[in-house]
Symmetry: C2
Subunit: 151 residues, 2 copies
């Protein structure tokens, strides 16, 4: 007596989210890499430094939702290419003050409109209301995850 499972991966929300999100990420990564030679972790670091510098590595972690190892690598790479500058913190020697260099700011100012353009490209089929709603949905799911993770 087999109960029909009727399970369809195609309509399973976590699967769909994962597939679509990965495709979106790949599309962005391709543009960033091709046009600016940077990875997504690097782009995230530049984005928050452009808006909030100076920041410590730890503050970049918090603002980008990346773990500290990933941030450390992104920062090292950006430093090596002269896109950001580091300065010791005046009172706390553990912290590092990171800012965009002139070259880094140049990239930041070029990359933001590009990012917005690609975002617009990807969401072309969505109305303004769809996008607002999607943000709300992500808020709610995020709140649920907060609860679930606190076990």
């Amino acid at each position: 007596m087999k109960r029909p499972s009727g399970f369809d991966l195609e309509s399973f929300l976590p699967y769909r989210l994962s597939v679509t999100t990965n495709r979106v990420s790949r599309a962005f990564a391709a543009h960033y890499e091709e046009e600016f030679g940077i990875s997504i972790p690097e782009w995230r670091a530049i984005a928050v430094l452009g808006a909030f510098a100076p920041l410590s590595s730890n503050e970049i972690c918090e603002r980008t939702a990346m773990d500290k190892a990933k941030v450390s690598r992104a920062v090292a790479s950006l430093l090596k290419r002269g896109l950001i500058a580091r300065e010791p913190h005046e009172t706390d020697q553990r912290l590092i003050q990171l800012t965009l260099s002139r070259a880094g700011r140049k990239i930041y100012e070029a990359i933001i409109p590009r990012a917005r353009a690609i975002e617009a490209e990807v969401t072309k089929g969505l109305s303004k209301a769809d996008i607002v709603h999607l943000h709300q949905v992500l808020d709610r799911v995020g709140a649920r995850l907060d609860e679930i993770e606190s076990d």
Copy 2:
């Protein structure tokens, strides 16, 4: 003359999608690993085999949106643990017929309701309409990506 960029990563859709989706995936992976000892690629393979077996590796690729290397590894691991069985295709020796073993089907039948329960848990803050809408949004974004990728 600095133009305010006003860019906020927190409200940048691709970033939000990525962060939330990765959290969801991690939550599922933790449950699958803990309760059944399988990874997400393995779970995907089991899910499609449970619904559509027999399948070749290639058909699993198509149905799970995983590349063939990942499928090959998941299949190898599931074979080693006796959760799936392989048979040569009758006419085409390149193909492999994969099915769930008895043990594999047992896991399948246990894991589907668990997956649905976790999905319900994560989407608890969403109405039925929210979920329908989210699926539509993912459809539209997927369609846009199809267009974008065909360049």
